[in-house]
Chain length 664, copies 2
């Protein structure tokens, strides 16, 4: 007795002949999540093949996760066993897609039939009998009028008393073909793996963030700032061209082990503590710091933001001060030592002596996960749609996979920015787990060549299918040596690059636009860090960077090519201090050349090679370029590929050139 | 009530923190099969990461498919979340491998403990209590003496009356560390996906095939040839340096629709028919053509082959003449038309009017698959270990996946050569389904640049992890125009390339070594094709290519670097008719430079750029090269990177240069 094969292989009968391979886009591991921008076509490609010489029917099936039925579009045969489809998702949301393929017996019979009847095959009568049977089978899959037609045609083709020529004509009739094809036999269909994609709103890709501490003051007021006071800044922030206002945590701050000024281990009695040491007697992650205001005040703040075209982003930091209600109510969520303490949180080299980490190995993990997810839900229900998530790489990866998928299903417009300053594979893995955007190494790319290499990876490698970068020149945690020792030109250059290399950026202001640059001695941090004290800022201090920031943001807002991720193209230069790159709209109506110097102290000159072929210009063409960064918007006349630029930090660290189309 | 996560995610508890990604090598789809050469180390790499800052333990687990337990080797941390292991399979066979990863609480405690005790942490007593608990837990996983030690040490560390310094010393003792590490807590382990690899014997990679029709004659004898007569050629074939003798099908041939000479649709009464029209009243795929001999004769043939250091490869062609017993016994395995006929087999543009294809969509597929598999088993049980499989791309892909995996488990030394002259993705998919070797497009790569591009794909792309190429200058089906119009130099050049570009090659002889070149008019086929008639060959006809073939095969046999797949490296030349490439052994003891002209008619000269850095030579170094293709083995003195060659087809179409190591 011969051993029999199993009844199914990979979930299919052995009779199913097509196989599917190399689906693009798709990610590993299987649960990883792609990102895609709303309203744009997603190009799906795959290798679909079978034995023999039959033609294959291949469709791309899509649905919103949770829907029962799939919508299908035909995938085009691109020869050599490649099939493709261009799918425009109907909305934002968590979508699933898969490829289905089958051999349609009628279609393949029809191909042969046409050839044979063209060739005058003497056995055409037999072919008509087969056709009759196939039409009858299609009839059983149809209803109503269609069914009646198919049955009638089947009888006609199978009736040996009828005229052969008439029968051939009917069998070749395009209407007949179309109707039979509408009822295909898909019993032997291959069902490909299911892939997931977050279809994201525009802002998930292109956003302009402004971070500030609402407890600090917008002028020389005293005491603790409030939501109401913070909202007073919204018109100004909106005028500067920002569209997201991001606050550090706004919850009650613990007293036990509270940090003092400049990260001191012991706080003075009037020190406010770090907002990231969340939780006190007033509550935890779902409560508000009383001095900031009530829940009503917070809702008013959201309204005020909306009125100004801003969205408020909250900071979600899953960690607890020792005074957090979770610590007493759910001690099983923490890892206790024999002396009744919990090892404080760390993110080397940083030590957070004022906060306790959750133990993601707790046996009560299901309740912990559910509670953490409910924190997001609470603020989503207040109307918040953007979250900056603190140190997500110190929380379990599978937790994020579950939590973010779940949240995005219910709130597809939600945006989650991952603050994972960690190793690259961990950053990318969090993006695959569902984080919308991620902080990057932008701050630490301080030479033109390494900046180019990094941006190439972010925009032109498979990473761009799941990771959306957000470039920050500074944060409350990071004051890079380049800024510590930088000039105004350094600050403007960093802002210009953040704003044009990728479509999302953010600054921690007002420290950035006031060019604060005093470090804590020997560190890459601000001295007198606002994390540990309440500040009064003179937002209009002379020499501030508002004019440049406002100008750059306005250009970004005006031209859609500056808000796209994958359309960057670097240009060669002959000075390693100068970085040059192009951003163009698909139809080439917009064409920008950005040229930036990495030297904030000395003039740098060099040639830039303009890829004229991308412009549709001939090699000797003369054309006009206008520098939008300069308020005078001077127009220069350039010719050919190679053009000279001189970047003088006393004037400007870069050119933001619009190449004008012919006749402009 | 917060919604809870499921109890497991991807088969793991949510407490499991490590994740695994980007395993190399690994293939898609999941059931695809890698190939690996016996006795060689397989380098396995993966991204393994978790949240937080714990160190991970990662192992590569391997087993022969069907074994219950896994063997484990430690994967080394290569930084940046990459882990690697070098695994040498213990034997040939179907192996499975997967990666396992966990966080060892003891190891991570120990790292912190050492730091803290170095720093004189005042809370070291608490750490010792934790260590005591971890040792006690390890004790519960140990047995015998180990358990006793662990319990004793745990008690010591936990005994508050003991001296602190002594306890610290014990906790830091390497012996203690090693013993605890031998009993890790792996309850929260991530189990990676299972991958499969066929570990193949040397001959699966490096083989030298000689095809001939055993029914033809080795001299001017008449009538039908026999196994005994065929075996008379074995010593000569072995002397020429071949190690596989491959016969077209040796089964009974059908009478119905038998093909005549030159593929005539109607045979004369004495025409023997095509051996691929398998099955007659004497039996089918498990029977022998009576005139070739009995099963006993066949077994004697196998013995005779073995005596000569040859293996016999059989041709397995899953198709039936209308007279095959399957047709009457299992009519459900064929697709019948209303007139009681079955559409004959095709492989466009070829038509096989004498054979019926199986219907792989039959509802009786499980019995069909089992029967087809049993054909292999039948011949494997006679001692055959090599099969050339005819047109596998016209049989269902999942059938091959099941059948080949099953056969390789029972007969790991079996080799299956796929005769799939079809589109590239289908060829490669069959390799992923388990075929050992595949025919290639070698015959149709007739310019140096396209040959180079193709060989790069076969040897340096991911294809080389699952597809082992076999290069044939001719087959009974293929007489390329290059040979039709070629010179002796053309034949030698094709053979030299087949023998040195990849490690496996074959010829259809004696047509090749006698330089037969008469095509069927207007076709890429032999006239008076041996497929349809019995030939008498004068194997020693003057002008035959035996000297060159023998010489090239002998060099291949002598030097292992010529029998490896991935060690080829192309060299630049300044004449597009000249192809040059290097093959070196890993320790550089062997270093060959092969230079071939694609022009069989005119002399071609040009420079070859020798990559001296690969040789460890300086840029101006003088060195000796010996041409092994020339029987006189002349030695030339070369210097530096750029050297001139002149290839004259009247003398030789190429150089087979051994670059002699310094001092040789």
């Amino acid at each position: 007795m011969n051993p029999l094969p199993p009844k199914t292989l990979h979930g299919h009968s052995g009779r199913v002949r097509p196989v599917i391979d190399a689906v693009q886009p798709s990610l590993r591991p299987a649960e990883a999540i792609l990102k895609h921008r709303e309203k744009e076509a997603m190009e799906v490609r795959a290798h679909v093949l079978a034995d023999g010489h039959d033609q294959l029917d291949v469709v791309l099936a899509t649905r919103l996760r949770g829907e029962r039925s799939w919508r299908e579009i035909t995938m085009r045969d691109q020869r050599n066993d490649e099939f493709s489809a261009s799918w425009v998702p109907p909305s934002i949301g968590v979508f699933e897609y898969r490829i289905l393929a089958w051999v349609d017996p009628f279609r393949n019979w029809h191909v042969g039939f046409v050839k044979k009847s063209d060739a005058g095959d003497p056995k055409i009568a037999v072919e008509l009998d087969i056709g009759s049977r196939l039409l009858a089978e299609a009839g059983t899959r149809a209803r109503g009028k269609d069914r009646a037609h198919l049955e009638e045609w089947s009888r006609f083709l199978g009736d040996h008393s009828r005229d052969l020529m008439q029968k051939v004509a009917l069998a070749r009739d395009p209407h007949v073909y179309e109707l039979v094809r509408a009822y295909p036999d898909r019993s032997l269909e291959r069902k490909g793996d299911i892939h997931r994609v977050f279809v994201e709103r525009e802002k998930a890709y292109a956003s302009t963030w402004y971070e500030f501490f609402p407890r600090s003051h917008v002028d020389d007021r005293e005491g603790h700032g409030s939501f109401a006071e913070a909202a007073e800044r919204f018109p100004e922030i909106a005028r500067m061209g920002f569209d997201v206002v991001y606050f550090p945590p706004i919850h009650p701050i613990g007293n036990t082990f509270r940090k003092g000024r400049n990260n001191a281990l012991v706080a003075e009695s009037d020190d406010p503590g770090s907002p990231w040491a969340i939780g006190g007697k007033e509550g935890g992650h779902k409560a508000l710091h009383p001095e900031l205001g009530s829940l009503e005040d917070f809702r008013a703040l959201l309204k005020e933001a909306e009125r100004n075209g801003l969205e408020v982003a909250l900071d979600i930091a899953f960690q607890c001060s020792p005074d957090h209600p979770y610590v007493s109510d759910h001690p099983q969520w923490f890892k206790w030592r024999p002396d009744g303490t919990v090892q404080y949180a760390e993110n080397p080299p940083k030590k957070y002596q004022d906060i306790l980490p959750f133990d993601f190995e707790t046996e009560d993990w299901r309740n912990l996960w559910a509670e953490l997810r409910s924190v997001f839900v609470y603020w989503l229900e207040q109307g918040v749609r953007i979250f900056r998530v603190d140190n997500p790489h110190t929380k379990s990866i599978d937790f994020w996979s579950w939590c973010l998928l779940d949240l995005k299903e219910a709130y597809p417009e939600a945006i989650f920015l991952s603050e994972a300053f960690t190793r690259p594979k961990r950053k990318y893995r969090l993006a695959k787990a569902g984080f919308t955007q991620g902080y990057t190494y932008f701050t630490w790319r301080n030479h033109a060549a390494e900046m180019r290499e990094y941006v190439e990876e972010l925009t032109h490698s498979p990473v761009s299918d799941f990771f959306i970068p957000n470039f920050w020149p500074n944060t409350p945690d990071i004051l890079h040596a380049d800024l510590q020792h930088g000039t105004r030109a350094t600050f403007v250059a960093r802002y210009l690059m953040a704003a044009t290399l990728v479509p999302s950026l953010g600054i921690y202001g007002p420290a950035f636009e006031l060019m604060e640059n005093e470090p804590f001695p020997g560190k890459e941090e601000y001295n007198h860090n606002e994390k540990y004290e309440i500040k009064s800022w003179d937002w209009d201090r002379p020499g501030n960077l508002k004019p440049e920031i406002t100008r750059i943001n306005a250009i970004r807002k005006r031209f859609s090519s500056l808000r796209r991720l994958k359309n960057i193209r670097f240009a060669e230069t002959d000075n390693p201090q100068i970085l040059a790159y192009l951003k163009a709209s698909p139809e080439r109506r917009e064409f920008f050349l950005i040229v930036v110097s990495f030297d904030g102290h000395h003039p740098q000159g060099g040639h830039v090679i303009v890829p004229l072929e991308g412009l549709g210009f001939g090699p000797d063409k003369a054309y006009a370029v206008k520098d939008l960064l300069d308020p005078a918007e001077p127009v220069y006349s350039w010719r050919g590929r190679k053009n000279y630029v001189l970047l003088d930090p006393r004037k400007s660290p870069g050119h933001f050139l619009r190449i004008l189309p012919e006749g402009a």
